[in-house]
Symmetry: C2
Subunit: 288 residues, 2 copies
């Protein structure tokens, strides 16, 4: 068996086209142009690349690029002041604080200054709480992108046994909650799990976000399962995920690395930004 | 086999005694007496009983009873105004809005007015978010009481297979997160789960909070497992839980109903109240 590929590059393109249409409709209706404020502190080269891509695709979707760059020696107070300024600015629909930050900065109190309605990365405690309680709110981009991929490939989630490997605040934990919201029976595994292979083999849908190259091999996959690989690692053999390539012989569906989950993350960021802009322009008290 | 009983009545008494000592020490050190503001709206007889018990045990632990009673025809604005008053009152360490509310009131926006530091029920989105992200905060009382029971009976949690049945915002969801924080491999089951019996049988630790009398029978329990019954139902045969009494023949440890989880809920409420009071009197910026 060779797994069917879940093509994140193609789907991300489609999502971005939808966002562009939604943006155009919003602007036509209200005159407001959604604006995304990416905030980059310092000169980490990988972060610079990520931010550049986000800005480019944001402009391509018809939104305003409100990027801000702070020097590497920015103080906590200076970073906080910038976030407060962006929070108060009505032209800013969404704020994205690019992580990681330079060592002198404490990320969480800075993230928590972002108003929940502008938190397009879905990483504030406020939005995590809304998700945990099953209430509407902006969702973290990577797990939201995974759900979109699974839906596009008609993977049934209601009642399905889903296993998530990895319990990060960015991916694993919100992933489990988003799949629960879709009525899956969700198991969250991590480094302390006694027998990861046994647990993974139960899964109809397996999402791997462990941050360890090739940690899930074919012996851990039920034949025909849908497998989503959130990892991306630069290795001597090129880019590799958390899933061993041999899994393709066992799984029914599999996301490639690269070209699977990665492109979906930025697409969902743009979707969150136009959604944030729509909520901000909706009449107060409108049912949403 | 007959399961050993996990005695919540005895443990709750011990927790309350600890809270009383902690309260006395705090008062001796700072002069401040922790105060619990229970808020009862209307005259639901069951709620009246619950609130009376909370108030009585609060006084017994040396804390101030700052109970407030609003009439059944209270408006949303009046209830909000009372909560804002309590939020601003420095003698109030904790606020508990007794649910359910009369039909004309919308509970969630009222709960969300409670500052996270006074949210001794742990039900605001803010505290749910802190829990979801693995950060310090006040935890919901019933699941916190379950963890305390399991610890007291030396049930290993790290690496254990734990299954939680029921996904309520009050119990099931925060329960799963608290057990994850203790490094368990957690599966959350619910009404859409395909084969609840099969999933439950994997559990070293099974927590049942489904709200359906006797929904978990002996066929769903792995021999020797620790089983926690969060349900309580008035039936023709007296008080019954979500767990069939025949489970006692299979489980290794079992909470009785009544006298298991129930008494722990109020004990953890009191523990949260003194904790909230300690945080409120801690010097600003103190590490906690």
């Amino acid at each position: 068996m060779t797994a069917r590929r879940m093509d994140g590059t193609a789907l991300a393109r489609r999502v971005r086209a939808e966002v562009a249409e939604q943006t155009a409709r919003l602007t036509a209706r209200t005159g407001a142009v959604p604006g995304l404020a990416t905030v980059l502190v310092g000169d980490d080269p990988a972060s610079a690349v990520y931010v550049r891509n986000k800005r480019r695709l944001c402009v391509e979707a018809g939104m305003r690029d409100l990027h801000r760059h702070l020097p590497a020696d920015t103080t906590q107070a200076e970073a906080a002041a910038l976030l407060d300024e962006l929070a108060a600015d009505p032209t800013v629909s969404g704020i994205l604080l690019q992580l990681p930050l330079p060592a002198q900065l404490d990320a969480q109190p800075l993230l928590d200054r972002i108003p929940s309605g502008k938190d397009v990365d879905g990483l504030t405690a406020a939005n995590a709480g809304l998700l945990a309680q099953g209430r509407p709110g902006l969702r973290p981009c990577t797990p939201a992108g995974v759900v979109r991929l699974l839906d596009t490939y008609d993977v049934p989630l209601s009642g399905a046994e889903v296993v998530v490997v990895g319990r990060s605040v960015l991916v694993g934990r919100p992933m489990a909650q988003l799949l629960l919201a879709r009525d899956a029976t969700v198991t969250l595994c991590h480094s302390r799990t006694r027998d990861v292979v046994e647990v993974c083999r139960r899964a109809d849908v397996l999402v791997v976000a462990a941050g360890v190259p090739g940690i899930v091999g074919p012996e851990a996959v039920r034949p025909g399962a849908a497998v989503v690989d959130v990892g991306i690692h630069r290795t001597e053999d090129g880019l590799r995920g958390d899933v061993d390539p041999a899994v393709a012989e066992v799984a029914g569906l599999l996301t490639p690395v690269p070209g699977g989950v990665g492109p979906m993350t930025i697409a969902m960021l743009l979707a969150n930004t136009v959604e944030a802009a729509e909520r901000a322009t909706a009449p107060v008290g409108a049912a949403r």
